[in-house]
């Protein structure tokens, strides 16, 4: 059902506007004129949100993950989380900062130790060396294969080289020369590929320095451990940080609401559902001092579409909205569509076992994971569809591809072996199933045409109703009667219906055209639509094809499992694996096919007959939650 919406203006004192917005978000019944579903946030808010997310990530490392986490928070706690969240975040940030800094310093220390290690055995400290006046000392490395010649030549020329250590590539040490022989010394160093390193200047010998550096390193390690311990301790409050994220995001959403102001009054304009208007007024007036004005809707103004359906139909709205949101002036297609979607889905799955699997899997998923939004709708649709799947499984006598005649089994218990619940056999005898599919298709299409009649009646467009809806119902029903009934009199009635339908089409299809020729051509063109009706009806043969494919693949998997089961010893194990994988695959593909093809039948064959769409959803300003699953009202 589509509920009418009212356009209203809420006025309050400028000082009260924050409170008003907060109340509106809490009530979740008011849709703002200017709204975005996914508003872009200012960068400072974004940065804070990212910082919170980083905090959550850091803490969640120390917390065991629950498979299905469900977080519910009390309204009072949600509203007062700010101080606690901020404090928590700053603690986490300081711990993270400590870790980051310590890690950086550790890396520096390790690099330093690595450079120093080859020169640890030098007999002097580095600082006094640099202060010598007449002699200069350079510290560095010489390639091992050149070292022998280098040492000899250095010795010959009166320079000194003190070796500290060597490895398989280089010899490390200090080279000393008198400043007056600098150029000669440098040539020597160059020719033997001596590479100089710059060591920090220390007063003590390098060797004595090492323990200090190592101590430093250990201290930093300890600091990291301490910070990690503190994070671990904080991780018990991870939940609070999640609440803080959602709190902060919703605070930002409130800040983004633009109120218009006069000198003393602030106001917002928007939509409210007519049936919720009273409640909203009452609840708002309890909380905020505000005035509510009703506004007139301009003629060309697009009103949002608010739908109100019961719990069974509600999830199917998402299927319709994926196609197009209904416009506010037409009949809500959801109640009719949901029933058909449900039935057709069941026929396409068409197996007791897969139906039970749907029931268990999506029942548990909804119960344990408590998904939100689109995922919840989809899971609910699958859960509901398990029932027709089981029913059609019983009618086709299929349980995971094994034929099971349920009523026959029950009958045998009560001593009546002649009962059977298998009325359709897509594999053994597909023709009745094909006829059933097409008949169901005709019924589906006629439902669409009836909805078209209702829509046209609302618009008082009698000609369109006769030309495009009544005519085709007459023709379709007439054709069905002509095929099914063999009685001569009834046959004439059927021909009469087809004739009248055709006349309606000829007369009224050209209602908008000018001139006799235009009208006549449009009438003939209207009759040509019979081909599209033919293809629409034939399109329902996919019901047979899909139930056939599910049944045969299930049968094949059972067959394969049976064949593998014949292998001695490991046979049973292999058979179980083949059986499991095969049926999971078939179940998943069946689910995908049913979802896609059921949608197609609704969108094209069904909606094509009457649905206009093109509206936009009534989306009230409300809390948007990412981490918290639900906010509980205070008791």
């Amino acid at each position: 059902m589509i509920v009418p919406v009212k356009k209203i203006r809420l006025l309050t004192a400028i000082s009260e506007q924050g409170k008003l917005i907060e109340a509106l978000q809490h009530e979740s019944k008011f849709m703002l004129f200017e709204h975005e579903n996914d508003p872009s946030l200012p960068s400072d808010i974004n940065n804070e949100l990212r910082a919170i997310e980083r905090g959550i990530k850091a803490l969640s490392k120390y917390k065991k993950k629950k498979f299905f986490a469900y977080h519910e928070v009390k309204q009072s706690e949600f509203n007062t989380i700010e101080a606690e969240g901020k404090a928590l975040l700053s603690k986490i940030n300081s711990a993270l900062k400590t870790i980051e800094n310590a890690e950086k310093e550790i890396a520096e220390l390790q690099a330093e130790i690595k450079t120093l290690t080859p020169y640890l055995n030098l007999s002097v400290a580095t600082k006094p060396l640099s202060e010598l006046v007449r002699t200069r000392i350079v510290i560095g490395q010489v390639p091992l294969n050149l070292f022998e010649d280098f040492a000899k030549e250095a010795d010959e020329k009166g320079h000194i080289f003190e070796e500290s250590s060597r490895d398989h590539e280089f010899v490390y040490g200090a080279f000393g020369y008198e400043v007056v022989y600098e150029s000669q010394a440098l040539i020597l160093l160059n020719s033997y590929r001596f590479t100089e390193v710059t060591l920090p200047l220390y007063d003590t010998k390098l060797k004595a320095l090492l323990p200090e550096l190592n101590d430093n390193l250990a201290n930093k390690d300890k600091a990291i451990l301490e910070a990690k311990d503190s994070l671990k301790a904080l991780s018990n409050d991870e939940e609070k940080l999640r609440i803080y994220y959602d709190y902060y995001y919703n605070l930002a959403l409130r800040k983004l609401v633009v109120t218009k102001t006069t000198e003393r009054v602030a106001y917002v304009e928007g939509w409210v559902r007519e049936d919720e208007f009273e409640t909203l007024t009452k609840n708002l007036e309890n909380k905020v001092d505000c005035d509510i004005e009703e506004l007139a809707v301009q003629n060309e103004e697009m009103v949002p579409t608010a739908t109100k359906n019961n719990k069974l139909v509600k999830p199917f709205e998402s299927i319709t909205n994926m196609f197009s949101v209904p416009n506010p002036n037409e009949l809500d297609p959801n109640p009719a569509m949901s029933v058909w979607y449900w039935i057709i889905f069941g026929i396409m799955m068409g197996d007791m076992g897969y139906g039970l699997a749907l029931l268990i899997i999506f029942g548990l998923f909804l119960k344990l994971a408590k998904p939100k939004g689109g995922l919840k709708d989809l899971a609910t649709i699958f859960l509901y569809s398990s029932i027709p799947s089981i029913i059609f499984g019983i009618l086709t006598g299929s349980f995971f591809g094994v034929s099971v005649d349920l009523l026959n089994i029950v009958g045998k218990w009560f001593g009546n072996p002649n009962l059977t619940s298998v009325v359709l056999q897509p594999v053994e005898d597909p023709l009745p199933m094909l006829i059933f599919s097409l008949a169901l298709g005709i019924a589906h299409i006629i439902t669409g045409l009836v909805l078209k009649i209702i829509n046209d009646a609302r618009k008082r467009d009698i000609k369109s109703m006769l030309a495009d809806a009544v005519s085709w119902i007459l023709i379709l029903v007439g054709l069905v009667i002509a095929v099914v009934v063999k009685n001569q009199i009834v046959l004439y009635v059927a021909y009469g219906m087809i004739g009248i339908g055709a006349i309606f089409i000829l007369l009224f299809s050209g209602r908008d055209k000018k001139g006799i020729i235009g009208k006549a051509l449009a009438g003939l063109g209207g009759l040509y639509n019979v081909t599209s009706y033919l293809s629409d009806v034939l399109s329902y043969s996919r019901l047979l094809a899909l139930s056939l494919s599910t049944a045969v693949i299930a049968f094949t998997m059972n067959l394969l499992a049976g064949m593998v089961g014949g292998i001695p010893v490991v046979g049973i194990l292999f058979a179980a694996i083949v059986y499991l994988i095969g049926h999971v695959f078939n179940f998943a593909m069946g689910l995908l096919s049913a979802y896609v093809h059921d949608g197609r039948l609704q969108y094209l064959e069904f909606f094509g007959k009457f649905y206009e769409g093109g509206g936009y959803e009534f989306t009230p300003f409300s809390y948007k939650l990412k981490y918290v699953n639900a906010i509980k009202e205070n008791e």
Binding site: F323, P430, L434, A545, L548, S549, I553, T556, H597, R600
Partner: protein
């Protein structure tokens, strides 16, 4: 083993083989587009995977007809039946619709899936419409499967 049996086996081979080729090409076309999309938007993996899987059904239909034929002629779970040439050729004919229809529609559905995946990449809200459009191509594979199965059932063995 009779020549008729060989005809029927060739039919089964074509049904599974050609329809399988169609699906393999189709799924890979979809997969290429999907890989491009998720390199930029990894969060769309679930949506594009469903679209990529759509052209996979032709291969399943072909496989299904092949298994049906092999069961009927006793190559699976029984002793091979001595088919006449006419029976064998009739089963061969029954395999053709899904073999040819599956091959072509698998490839074209793959192209359509790739386009829908690109569309989903630009506007994730459109993925359901992309699915519907992609499924329209499959209609012809379904009709081919139907004709194959109806012919298969009508052949007396």
């Amino acid at each position: 083993m009779t020549t008729g049996l060989v005809y029927a086996l060739i039919g089964a081979a074509l049904a599974a083989g050609l329809a399988g080729v169609g699906s393999a090409v189709g799924v890979s076309l979809g997969g290429k587009a999907a890989a491009g999309v998720i390199s930029e938007k990894p969060e769309l993996f679930g949506r594009v995977l469903i679209l990529q899987a759509l052209p996979a059904t032709q291969g399943i239909y072909g496989f299904l007809v092949a298994v049906l034929i092999m069961v009927k002629i006793g190559m699976i779970g029984g002793n091979p039946i001595a088919l006449t040439n006419e029976q064998g050729l009739a089963l061969f004919a029954a395999a053709l619709p899904i073999a040819i229809g599956g091959l072509a529609s698998g490839i074209y559905q793959g192209k359509m899936a790739a386009a829908s995946i690109s569309m989903t990449g630009k506007n994730p809200a459109m993925s359901a419409r992309g699915m519907t459009m992609t499924a329209m191509v499959e209609t012809y594979a379904i009709l081919a499967l139907l004709v194959s199965v109806l012919m298969y059932i009508a052949v007396p063995v």
